[in-house]
Symmetry: C2
Subunit: 413 residues, 2 copies
């Protein structure tokens, strides 16, 4: 393996080239990567089987995350093709004007530079991250989980060859090919060459990365997501949105964790919601007022309001009006995704204005908060940071900008 | 003085209110602040005189920065009024679309929250920072230099009263009223309440702040700014732009530090430029090729190319073509502001694409890189960071955004 500093230096050198390459060329590279992946499918599957065999002690959920099925393989290929087809985020004129002096000023999207992605098992992050990074003109250093190293080697190798075919530097995509923790620590020290680190995984990983580096880190923390069923919510919609938000996939950051039911409609709506959730095997934990309406609901503790279950458990609280709902969200939420179910324009206005979360939803499933359903195409995650990128992190969020001012001799007076 | 943690807590509480206040109300508060300043002008001037008297050992440049003249006072008042008149940066729809499902998705600018400003002598930063912060719906904690504490007390007091008059929380503006370094260290630990820190001052201040906190820091480092005189530059423009970029004000970050003269035109243009600079008392330090053209130019050392003089000194290097010019800028520049003087559209295109600086200028003075001349109105500085805000930091840059998605029952499939 090449030394980490050399790897970072190469990424920065490749970035100088990638920053000036046309969007057509980057899209071509992504298409070629999809093609290269298909050509090495057998190798990918064989390496993945070896990875799985080499780690017999992995938990079943971890094995599930590590395993590439045909369906996941197709998804990975399609993600690269979809990214190729997205509009180019680089070179967008974000704003601009001609000043009274005649100076033409424009704010133009440009690549950030070198992005390092540190993640755990899922090998599809390897191709997803490369797709988003290249789409936005960044070079990427990939550090996946050690248990998927064989798989990632084949994936990265195919993408690197495809980059060269497309006339891009091979080092547009690099894999940190080591299971050694020292390598990651060394990577975190490359502030001279790396512009952004994106850790994807558990809280402890994100915290360890943030505290071990001076490089900016885009953080993806908890989603303690809420739905507030307002007094005038449509009962059918309350049922379908709650069930979908909680059950469509329980282990993800935009799954519902706490339901806030307005006292004015709870007696009418909550039993319907509870019945549907119980059919899905969801355990309910409620405040005393909830339990008065739903007698077989377990009691919720204070800690429940601050818990991201990532499991078929839902906490339920009765609130008295929208202000109390928003106060609960402000106190216990994680600023990720929070929604209201209402038929009132005024309540929706107040909720949108008053809830300060990355995603604020009205009459929609919390599971829709993300890149695909927002029309961003490929994303590398959902940021819980407030600065630079908030919510889904797609190609546009991996851009920065520069100011370009063109004149004909303008001076400062 | 109230404890720092309590101050930060109050700022966060005030921020909850300020986030939902209308732009009209914030603009009204800024206008009232301008009015309040005028009403306490005598007090401001008296406090400022006391500050100056209390620090007789200050250097002359420091005294100059601390002193509020009538002209500076008027400038401070006008900055508040100008900020009031700017368009509201909050609530801008940054992008949006209706998805095929019917979900309406919008990305909307919202305030960051609580901004802490840590700065040195100039008391005008006290009002400028408050203006930009309030304009963008943020609450601000101001920590000015200890030598300007009396002045800042009067300024902050007037602005706080005006905020209350306008119906805003008093704690929309707070002054950290202490000369104690421990207070700053305590401020840096308030990550629960403070969303962004902006240090303004020398490198050592910025470095100390960045390393002492987990709160995001917007950094304003060096401006090692370049002008490249291309082979086809208009000689008159080369002279006027170089003189204005270097001499209009030497001690600021967007002043010119290194001139790159193309070998193809240097013999013709450089003597004219040098003569004009010498009339302004600028010391020239050149590479050997420069000295062959300008015999009385001093020799430049390697270190000169990496130096931000902030003084009437200019380094000059002969380069052979635009690639060499851009390579010099990439190696020695600080990514702040770099410009080209050319009459060729093709050279300007290549320079704009190839130079990765916060501001890239064509045929304009480096001194124009900034908020006013870019049409942003008030700014709190020029960021040398790549993420979130790059270049001038105005009201728009003190915003983050949230995604708002409005549907009628959309589920995730």
């Amino acid at each position: 393996m090449i030394p980490i500093q050399e790897m970072a230096r190469r990424a920065a050198a490749a970035s100088q080239i990638l920053k000036t390459v046309s969007g057509a060329c980057r899209a071509d590279a992504l298409k070629r990567m999809a093609g290269a992946l298909i050509r090495v499918k057998d190798e990918v599957m064989a390496a993945n089987a070896e990875d799985l065999k080499a780690a017999p002690d992995l938990s079943e959920p971890m094995k599930k995350r590590l395993r590439i099925t045909d369906k996941i393989f197709d998804y990975m290929v399609n993600r690269l093709r979809e990214a190729a087809a997205l509009p180019d985020p680089v070179g967008r004129v974000l704003e601009g004007r001609v000043m009274p002096s005649g100076l033409r000023v424009e704010k133009i999207a440009v690549p950030i530079g070198v992005v390092a992605m540190i993640y755990e098992a899922r090998p599809n992050v390897t191709t997803d991250a490369a797709a988003v990074a290249l789409k936005s003109g960044n070079t990427v250093i990939l550090k996946g989980g050690s248990e998927s190293l064989r798989t990632n080697r084949v994936l990265a190798g195919a993408m690197r060859s495809a980059a060269v075919e497309a006339g891009l530097p091979e080092d547009a995509v690099q894999l940190l090919d080591s299971a050694d923790h020292k390598a990651v620590r060394e990577l975190l020290r490359q502030e001279e060459f790396i512009d952004l680190i994106i850790p994807r995984g558990g809280k402890s990983l994100i915290r360890a990365v943030s505290e071990g580096t001076r490089i900016p880190v885009l953080k993806h923390y908890d989603g303690i997501c809420h739905l507030y069923i307002a007094e005038d919510a449509d009962p059918d919609m309350a049922v379908s949105l709650t069930v979908n938000s909680k059950c469509q996939r329980v282990e993800v950051c935009n799954a519902l964790e706490t339901l806030l039911a307005d006292a004015a409609s709870a007696t009418r709506i909550l039993p319907l919601v509870a019945e549907a959730l119980k059919k899905q095997g969801v355990e309910l934990r409620g405040c005393p007022e909830t339990r008065a309406i739903l007698p077989d609901c377990l009691p919720a503790t204070e800690q429940d309001w601050d818990t991201e279950y990532l499991a078929p458990i839902l906490s339920i609280r009765i609130v008295h009006g929208i202000e109390e709902a928003m106060a609960h969200i402000a106190r216990h939420g994680s600023g990720h995704t929070d929604g209201i179910i209402t038929s009132s324009l005024e309540l929706s206005r107040r909720f949108i204005a008053g809830v300060d979360s990355a995603s604020v939803l009205v009459n929609a499933s919390t599971r829709l908060s993300g890149g695909g359903d927002y029309g961003l195409g490929a994303v590398v995650g959902i940021s819980t940071d407030r600065l630079h990128a908030r919510g889904p992190v797609g190609p546009a969020e991996l851009c920065t900008y520069k100011w370009v001012a063109v004149g004909n001799g303008q001076l400062r007076a």
